[in-house]
């Protein structure tokens, strides 16, 4: 069945964000002859439409008031874009935007949203939305009979779109009223490489015991290379004060998908794995050979981190 798909896009530095391009890639694959459109809001949106690969049509507003996400303003715009595009499928990132626009758009359009999907697949003309649940212990596949079917989608679930940008640009209204006022934003002190962007993530867990142990994790990351490796943590390590909450990996932390994820003294609870099981290769260092982390890891070292990590630091320095 042909699907008319609307991607609720997001701008990053005046261009469609990487996740927007992934959603467009997913939409290309699912359209089956239907039309793919994108919504882009904020300063530079009209210009960015040309970079929205895979979209035939773009619904845009250049109103800079959209630059700060405000749920009610975005919701009105999204509703208008759905109506004008005739979409029967809406894809949004599982981001600050998607977490709010997904459910509220579903409610306003008397339909449903599947949150945090890792796969949207066409099974004989019916779309199947698959998402992790039970803290990452299980996956659930849903169908949605009402239209449009809405999904928020986790980053890196689709390959980015290829091809030209949107040929046709339709203007949406500027930002309207919102009952919620955004008063201000405070950036977390982010120094250097972000864990979502790093090729290698070295994470430490409760087994490190104290912040002093955690310094070894930082030393290991710098031995691998500060341009490549970033430091993550389990929630237990964050709770111990070893690492700021911004570095937490997992269900309620960040989802990371590096090429290499090195988990040191982390047991591998499902809620932690929910944030890193998409890594290409997981290496685990744990003194308990039965730790759950070893059922996700490709390589494992069974041993005390106090001996293993200094050896790893030394050997990585030689590379």
């Amino acid at each position: 069945m042909a699907n008319n798909i609307l991607v609720v896009g997001e701008l990053e530095g005046g261009a469609p964000s990487p996740t927007t391009l992934e959603l467009l890639g997913g939409a290309q694959g699912l359209a089956a002859g239907g039309a793919v459109s994108v919504m882009l809001l904020g300063a530079g949106a009209s210009g960015a439409a040309a970079q929205a690969a895979g979209a035939a049509k773009a619904f845009v507003s250049d109103d800079a008031a959209y630059d700060t996400f405000n749920g009610e303003q975005w919701l009105t715009a999204a509703q208008s874009a759905v109506e004008q595009s005739g979409a029967n499928v809406v894809l949004v990132a599982q981001s600050v935007v998607g977490r709010e626009v997904g459910p509220r758009l579903a409610s306003r359009l008397n339909t449903a949203v599947a949150m945090d999907c890792v796969s949207v697949a066409d099974a004989g003309g019916t779309l199947q939305f698959t998402r992790p649940c039970y803290g990452g212990n299980a996956l659930a596949t849903y169908t949605i009979a009402t239209s449009p079917a809405i999904a928020t989608v986790r980053a890196k679930s689709f390959e980015p779109a290829s091809g030209g940008g949107a040929g046709e640009v339709v203007q949406l209204a500027g930002a309207g009223a919102s009952r919620v006022a955004v008063l201000g934003k405070e950036k977390a002190e982010a120094t250097g490489l972000q864990i979502q962007d790093a090729k290698v993530v070295v994470s430490g867990g409760r087994g490190l015991g104290a912040p002093e142990g955690f310094q070894q994790i930082e030393a290991l990351a710098s031995a691998i290379g500060s341009d490549k490796a970033a430091v993550g943590a389990s929630r237990a390590a964050v709770d111990l004060g070893c690492s700021p909450p911004s570095q937490q990996v997992g269900l309620t932390g960040k989802v990371v998908t590096p090429d290499l994820y090195i988990a040191v003294a982390i047991s591998g609870a499902s809620q932690h794995m929910a944030g890193c099981s998409g890594s290409k290769v997981i290496v685990a260092v744990n003194r308990d050979k039965d730790a759950n982390i070893f059922s996700f890891a490709k390589y494992g070292i069974v041993g005390d981190w106090k001996a293993v990590v200094p050896a790893l630091i030394e050997e990585f320095k030689k590379v």
Binding site: L139, A140, V319
Partner: protein, 266 residues
């Protein structure tokens, strides 16, 4: 200020993965032997946020749960923390619903209470991890909402909420009535003391069914659901870990690096 806390009872999310089982025929989780269901973590935190607001500004807190008779335990836990009243929404017609029917039912109960100024939910229920019931309640009631809060304070006209973003925090202001969903960054919920637990045990919990809420049984639970669960399953794990050999940690480290180099990872 009258605050409603929506609290769900769920299978203990800290159940070891080895004890986590699914019945493929019914697409349901099989309760792990000897592990009692718990109050969803974030809902305990939402209750803490509500109670602190009550302590600062006066008023009352009502806890509502939609669930089976056993969900009384979740309600009693929030009562022991200091909530004033409890309501259990229990009816066979509510069974096997989705986020929409849950929100619709909770919203009707909130309307029936009548004088509610704010609804506090968890950021997500730690069973299905959906994270949408709070917003759906807001839409059903026509109220503004702020999600994933790490701080909530009352102002003269409404609420000031600090929200968690991917790269920091944001402060927003919403007029009352409003819905807030609360995240773990808010802090730990209080631990009830024995006298409070005993007092809560004696409190009567109001029970409402579909009829009490004026809901057509055909519009709630499985009959009204918009999300159709087709399959619930445990994903396959890579399973085969290669343990790195070596007589010394140095040798193990060097052997691991050789493997990673062969895989072109470093």
């Amino acid at each position: 200020m009258h605050i409603v806390v929506c609290a769900k009872q769920i299978p203990d999310p800290e159940t070891p993965p080895s004890a986590f089982k699914i019945d493929a025929a019914t697409n349901k989780v099989i309760p792990a032997a000897g592990i009692s269901p718990v109050l969803s973590q974030f809902d305990g935190i939402a209750a803490e946020a509500a109670l602190r607001l009550k302590e600062a500004k006066g008023g009352k807190v009502t806890v509502i749960s939609l669930g089976a008779e056993s969900a009384q335990a979740a309600i009693k836990q929030v009562l022991a923390m200091g909530a004033d009243e409890g309501v259990l929404l229990k009816d066979a017609a509510f069974d096997d619903g989705d986020s929409y029917t849950t929100a619709r039912t909770l919203a009707e109960a909130i309307k029936k209470l009548g004088d509610v100024d704010a609804v506090f939910c968890g950021r997500q229920a730690a069973d299905w991890d959906m994270g949408q019931v709070g917003l759906l309640i807001a839409e059903e009631l026509g109220w503004p909402a702020a999600i994933i809060a790490k701080g909530v304070e009352a102002t003269d006209t409404g609420l000031k909420i600090q929200r968690v973003l991917a790269d920091g925090f944001e402060t927003v202001e919403a007029p009352l009535p409003a819905v807030v969903t609360v995240s773990n960054e808010f802090g730990e919920p209080r631990y009830p003391k024995l006298p409070q637990i005993m007092a809560a045990a004696k409190k009567t919990v109001t029970a409402w069914g579909a009829g009490d809420l004026g809901l057509d049984p055909g519009s709630v639970g499985k009959a009204g659901a918009r999300l159709q669960l087709q399959k619930l399953f445990i994903p396959e794990k890579s399973g085969r870990v290669e343990l790195i050999e070596g007589d010394t940690p140095q040798e193990q480290a060097s052997n691991l690096i050789k493997k990673l180099q062969a895989d072109k990872l470093i």
